[in-house]
Amino acid sequence: MSAIYIARANEVAARSLDGEMMIMSARDSTLFTLNPVGTTIWQSADGKTSLEEIVTQKVCAEFEVDPEEALKDAESFVNDLAGHGIVVVSDVPISLAKPMLGGA
């Protein structure tokens, strides 16, 4: 399976309230409240680190989760966010210098 890279989209508003990450899509006003694992993935979505690396190096280090199960859940999670334009997803590292692949 090829690597997945994710980056936070430009048209989103995000804020941490009492330790919970709230994200609103400026495109369709959908509001997400991320759980701690989701927050870790969101905060690591720099476009350069693959999702697998994020899961193994960050998620599995911080939470007691099965790596394989966690990666599967993470893929589902980022696809959901991408569907609302919250993140962009690519199979190559995402550079700000070139256009990102749309997630929707």
């Binding site: 048209e11 309230l17 009492d18 709230m22 609103m24 400026a26 369709d28 006003s29 409240t33």
Partner: protein, 270 residues
């Protein structure tokens, strides 16, 4: 009366949220209707923050838009609904409304324009009742049926009702000021034109007995956003409103207020 004759027609100045708006029309009958509708909110001596010219047309469909459409194009906000077409240019602080001689279309336009201005100042228009007691304002937010009208109707004489439908919140340093509005709901009674610092936001729900419990900030923001009047599908505006809601719940206590609908609930609000 708050009405002045001018060379170009006549005008009234409606001041909501300390924001005087000059409304002009060639029709003295229309202005008379507006003056009566907003009688508690007229301030003929105020210097207008912006001007609205009302062009009256015969009753009937004005635009093809079925639903409300609010969009920003070429430096102007365009507001369209079946019964009105309005333009408002923030830079020149001038606008124009095309509508038939009725009080509802301009009321909708005023709500929208105020919401757009407030969004840029960190304030919000909220689907909520609000009231002042002992110099402090309390906001009661909830969807239709949650009890906004009921709690307003149950208010004792020492409570001043700001609105039973649309609350007007203006940012003031780290806090907020709640203003009375003429935007009435089922109570069909306009609010008092007074203001007070916002002391608490209550998320309303009816129940078998009275109870107050604090609400987590993230849940409070989510509930507040569900009740913010939010007309334009504009990314910048969405971000501003989101930030404003998050700021409010971070600076103002938020509680879930479950209430049995009788006057005893007001013993809990002070």
């Amino acid at each position: 009366m708050g009405r002045l004759a001018t060379a170009a027609g006549q005008e009234v100045i409606i001041e909501i949220g300390c924001m005087p708006v000059q409304v002009r029309s060639e029709s003295s009958e229309f202005l008379q209707m507006i003056a009566e509708r907003y009688s508690g909110f007229l301030n003929p001596n105020a210097r207008p923050v912006f001007e609205l010219n009302v062009d009256l047309v015969a009753p009937g469909r004005i635009t093809e838009e079925e639903d409300l459409s609010v969009r920003f194009e070429s430096g102007r906000w365009l507001i369209e609904r079946g019964d009105l077409r309005a333009e408002w240019e923030p830079a020149s602080r001038r606008g124009r409304i095309m509508q038939s001689p009725n009080p509802y279309s301009i009321d909708a336009a005023l709500r929208i324009i105020h919401s757009l201005i407030l969004a840029h100042e960190g304030g919000l228009l909220v689907h909520a009742a609000s009231a002042v007691r002992n110099g402090k304002a309390f906001l009661f937010a909830g969807v239709s049926g949650a009890g906004k009208t009921t709690i307003s109707r149950l208010a004792p004489p020492d409570v001043t009702l700001l609105t039973d439908e649309i609350s007007y919140l203006q940012r003031n340093g780290h806090g907020y000021v709640a203003h009375g509005t003429p935007f009435a709901g089922e109570l069909a009674r306009v609010g008092e034109n007074v203001q007070a610092p916002l002391a608490a936001l209550y998320l309303l729900q009816k129940g078998p007995e009275n109870a107050i419990e604090p609400v987590r900030a993230s849940e409070a923001a989510r509930m507040l956003l569900e009740n913010v009047l939010f007309f334009a599908h504009d990314p910048k505006l969405v971000s501003l409103v989101f930030e404003s809601a998050c700021e409010l719940v971070s600076n103002v206590p938020v509680y879930r207020l479950t209430f049995f609908p009788d006057e005893r609930i007001w013993e809990w609000i002070a």
